[in-house]
């Protein structure tokens, strides 16, 4: 059983997701329809997994993600989005979300994703894998002095397979690896992405003198 919080501004969706999760034996500990409500209810509800619609009316999906994870780093955020806005999705993942699903995914896929995210696994769609590959590509083509982690060849290879819709099982079979190893590689790509994001943010802060406390 996983303690879940559902954040979505469409009541229709909130109810459907809530029903599905409860039917699968999970506990929905809180619901919210915008970023403000979500932040107000998150600390008391202490969910393990937050199912979050990026398209909130107050445009706060990415911000909500980072605030929640700052408050409780053990919580997991699963992004559920209708339109798959590219930059928003990537920003939410950089902010620490570990899963992404489009809303047209079936209830079985959603429940599976919630369980996996709760276990610390990452849930990628092919589209997201493509974006992450693109992001690392942009980093690789950027200034060479960047102190950021690049993907290993193996990680790139696996991410490419995820981006062409292959399941971890298929990837494991194709590369003659264990399922767990494939999982670890995918997790590593996200960890590196989030780490790079932090490095960039820190560097930006230093360049702009935000670390200077003497003043």
């Amino acid at each position: 059983m996983v303690r879940v919080m559902v954040v979505d501004d469409h009541p229709m969706w909130r109810d459907a997701v809530e029903r599905d999760l409860q039917a699968a034996g999970h506990e929905v500990v809180a619901v919210a329809s915008n970023g403000r409500e979500a932040m107000a209810r998150f600390p008391a509800a202490a969910p393990q997994v937050v199912v979050l619609d990026l398209q909130l009316p107050d445009h706060s999906g990415v911000q909500v993600t980072s605030m929640m994870l700052e408050h409780d780093p053990t919580a997991r955020v699963l992004i559920l989005s209708a339109s798959g806005e590219q930059t928003d999705v990537l920003d939410a993942i950089k902010a620490g979300a570990t899963g992404y699903l489009v809303k047209s995914a079936s209830s079985a896929e959603l429940i599976d994703a919630v369980t996996r995210v709760a276990d610390g696994d990452t849930v990628f769609t092919p589209g997201l894998a493509g974006l992450v590959l693109g992001e690392f590509r942009r980093i690789a083509d950027g200034p060479a002095d960047d102190p950021v982690d690049q993907l290993t060849e193996r990680e790139t290879e696996i991410l490419k397979m995820v981006a062409t819709g292959m399941s971890y099982k298929q990837i494991a079979a194709r590369l003659v690896l264990s399922h767990r190893t494939v999982q670890n590689h995918v997790q590593n790509t996200l960890r590196k992405l989030q780490m790079n994001n932090r490095v960039q943010l820190t560097r930006w802060a230093i360049e702009h003198g935000l670390d200077d406390t003497r003043e």
């Binding site: 459907a16 209708a82 079936s106 974006l131 062409t164």
Partner: protein
């Protein structure tokens, strides 16, 4: 105001030049009063009418005309002196170079005509007025036009942004409903499953359309967005296709884009022919500074060992060779891999 003070001061200093000091004082006081009135009148846009501008200029001209009677006929400086500036700037600002020209010509004429003799200084002053009027007018016109153009551009940008925002809100609502129908349809089965499948197709189409909109081609030097072109082609293709792009536009030469899209389309045709209409395919576009890589995978049973060689031997490799041909034409390579996980084409095209 400054020129008024200048005018009052100069006239007070040179009052011994006046033949009729009382009359001169009256004229100066009248001009000073008019300055205060004009300052107040010009402040409000609604009061800046042609009548005001004509009155302003007429008063200045009148002051010029009365100079010979008030001072001696062979006077040196007119009573208003540099005070004429105010009126002719107003004309230049309001009616641009034409206004500036008319006002400066009138002032020059009224300044020169009453004089008994024209010396070099008078000539220089009137010449400056004649030149300055149209130039100030022209500059005002340019400034106003630039301000108008900037306002128009800002308005257009704001309108476009608002349209996109509204479209997003509308699209999001539609996508939510389509996704919901698809989800419920799949759960209920039967006729509803068919409806759900249709909703799913529409949802994918709309989603890809939105992404194409996000990556509007910047169109620099005849280059087009390959990612958007792949999305567009894949949406229209009968095979169910998911397209993954690096995010943002992948700009390539137009003919490279059309050839790559045609090659990928051929790959998808192949999927349809060998795996069937129930197949799903994935297209992944990756972009590096010197090359683009497009992978196409299907979830079919794969091609058996030796099947390809056999087909090649029998000369039945039409589609595969057309894919290779297109890519090699662009100086790239096409690689085919197959296994229990399906069949995958990897097309690598260099960007010269």
């Amino acid at each position: 105001m400054v020129v008024t003070v200048n005018m009052v001061g100069l006239n007070a200093y040179r009052r011994d030049n006046f033949e009729h000091p009382d009359l001169g004082l009256a004229v100066v006081v009248a001009l000073a009063a008019w300055t205060v009135a004009a300052t107040w009148l010009y402040r409000d846009r609604a009061r800046r009418t042609a009548v005001l501008l004509v009155a302003d200029l007429a008063i200045v001209l009148a002051a010029l005309v009365v100079t010979p009677w008030v001072k001696s006929p062979d006077f040196n400086a007119t009573i208003p002196g540099f005070y004429v500036m105010g009126a002719f700037f107003a004309w230049a600002i309001h009616w641009h170079w034409r206004g500036g020209l008319v006002a400066s010509a009138l002032i020059a004429a009224f300044d020169l005509l009453p004089r008994s003799e024209v010396d070099q200084g008078n000539y220089g002053n009137t010449f400056l007025i004649l030149i300055g009027g149209p130039i100030v007018g022209f500059m005002c016109e340019s400034l106003q036009r630039m301000a108008r153009e900037r306002d128009a551009a800002e308005r257009a940008a704001a309108a476009a942004e608002e349209r996109t925002r509204l479209a997003r809100a509308v699209h999001d609502g539609v996508l939510q409903v389509l996704a919901m129908v698809q989800r419920r349809g799949a759960a209920d089965g039967g006729e509803w499953a068919e409806l759900g499948r249709l909703a799913g197709e529409q949802e994918r189409g709309l989603r890809s359309l939105i992404r194409q909109q996000d990556t509007v081609p910047t169109g620099a030097g005849g280059r087009v967005d390959l990612a958007g072109a792949l999305e567009a082609m894949a949406t229209a293709h009968p095979v169910r296709v998911e397209v993954a792009t690096p995010g943002g536009a992948v700009l390539v030469e137009a003919h490279v884009a059309s050839e790559v899209v045609a090659a990928v389309s051929a790959c998808l045709d192949n999927v349809l022919a060998h795996v069937g209409p129930g197949a799903t395919a994935w297209v992944l576009a990756q972009s590096a500074p010197d090359e683009v890589t497009v992978s196409v995978r299907d979830d079919g049973p794969g091609i058996g060992e030796g099947r390809l060689d056999e087909a090649a031997a029998q000369g039945r490799l039409g589609v595969a060779s057309s894919i290779r041909g297109r890519v090699e034409e662009l100086g790239g390579t096409a690689r085919l891999e197959s296994g229990s996980w399906g069949t995958e084409w990897e097309l690598v095209v260099p960007l010269a």
